[in-house]
Amino acid sequence: MFTNLEKCPRNLLVCEKSSFLNEKSRHDIHVAKHFFNYKVSILIPECGIIPSFLSSVVNGFSKYYLVRDLPLHKLLEDEFLEKVVKTGSLYALSYKTRIDQDNTFAILPTGQVILSVDKDTYEELGLEGKASQYNHRQPMRYVVTIDMTDKSLAPGGKRYKRVMWALKEKVQLTSDFLLARYSIGGDEEGLLQSCLSQYSCKELRPSVSTQTLRDLLCPSLDPADLRRDARSHDPQQFLEWLGTVTMDMSSNNEATSFVSTYCCPEPQSSMSQALVYTVTGLLLPEDIHSLLKELRRYFDEPRFTSWLSMTVHGFADSPISWGSTEHGFHKGGENFYTFVIFKNQDYWLHMATGANDGCPP
């Protein structure tokens, strides 16, 4: 009756099927390009105890730092750039800033600095930028991208001075930051801390939680059949089921039930137990890549299950999702991907985004 009430924002789901052994497989690129990861949850069917490799990999995850009231220009100073940004990959994301209302900043490991600012700040700042793609009629949000690796932005140069002047004297952009740095050697443990010693800096480790589920229904998966046209359930239904499992919901309701009619998609089989292992924090793509590598080796030994899954959630308030595609919040800001890893090294990759986001690569 009220047709104008029946519309809702678009969402995108990209599904890929390939094999890790395929030479052209792009799984590592997809992982590496999703810069800001908030949570990883791993589901291993028919598994009661945490495999030892899992905890050792997660223990090796990079530490990250929460720095309070850090002025943005500090991160672009000559010394900091030389010592930290250019020698390894630095990930920085402003903490507790909401992309749909606050100014949000991010530094990508590629050396790009992204400032997503509201109209007033943008006009005061006087730096060159673009209107956000997801503005409504009147542009109220602008995105400024500064590429620190660009030659014309070399410290001491005219453009560099202008950027510093804008960030230091025009508008002092300050925020709490989550910082993490990945370097191959991993030798400079206290480097970030020593560089930012005059600010309150807290070292954090990714937090881990585990959960064992018992007696659940699970859809039967066939690695060759991503599209599922032959059978009845499609990728959406599988992702929905995965959601019900990670959130511990009942998936065996009667069709006549008043409260919920959700049912596990057919064809289904039963599972005696499953392990859900979650890691939360600012997680680096490099670490997730090594985790993925270890998960692939899970099937080196004979196992009861033929598949396992890994879901990686991105930060809803980061100004980018994959690569440098602009990301907005709109209703949920979701951007996540799920790997389903099969025994024979085939995999499915589902990448999902909400309304204010480009198509995943």
Binding site: M1, E16, K17, S18, L21, S260, A316, F336
Partner: protein, 123 residues
């Protein structure tokens, strides 16, 4: 290389027929208890107030309801999302006692509700 699965890519736009909502019910007095069925009935009556019997005639599911924290996860067809959301917003009383519903997260993917980065507390 024939034995490995061949590469295949599918793009779905608006393929999800459902939206999922994570909501909190806030009651004024702490001692009131209600179960999932009461909770759903409360939402249905709110819908009926705002959109009448014809407007409220659409299905939705309470996938999860925690009685101690009064948080719930709802599943609704895309066409009913706006109606359900607005009815929840205007829901103001339970058994003639003031109450409110806070919508924490809305997403077309249920999986996204399990990882809300806005809940990250580091202090």
């Amino acid at each position: 290389m024939g034995e490995h699965a061949s590469y295949e890519r599918l793009v779905f736009k608006n393929a999800s027929v459902y939206h999922y909502m994570k909501i909190d019910l806030i009651l004024e007095s702490e001692d009131k208890r209600l179960n999932a069925a009461h909770f759903k009935q409360l939402i249905i009556s709110a819908l009926r107030d705002l959109y009448g019997e014809i407007g409220a005639a659409f299905p939705f599911d309470v996938l999860k309801f925690e009685e101690d924290t009064l948080t719930a996860v709802l599943r609704v067809y895309n066409s009913g999302l706006v109606k359900l959301w607005s009815a929840l917003t205007l829901l103001g009383s339970y058994h003639s006692e003031p109450c409110a519903v806070r919508v924490t997260q809305v997403s077309p993917f249920l999986l996204a509700l399990s990882g809300n980065s806005r809940e990250l507390e580091l202090d």
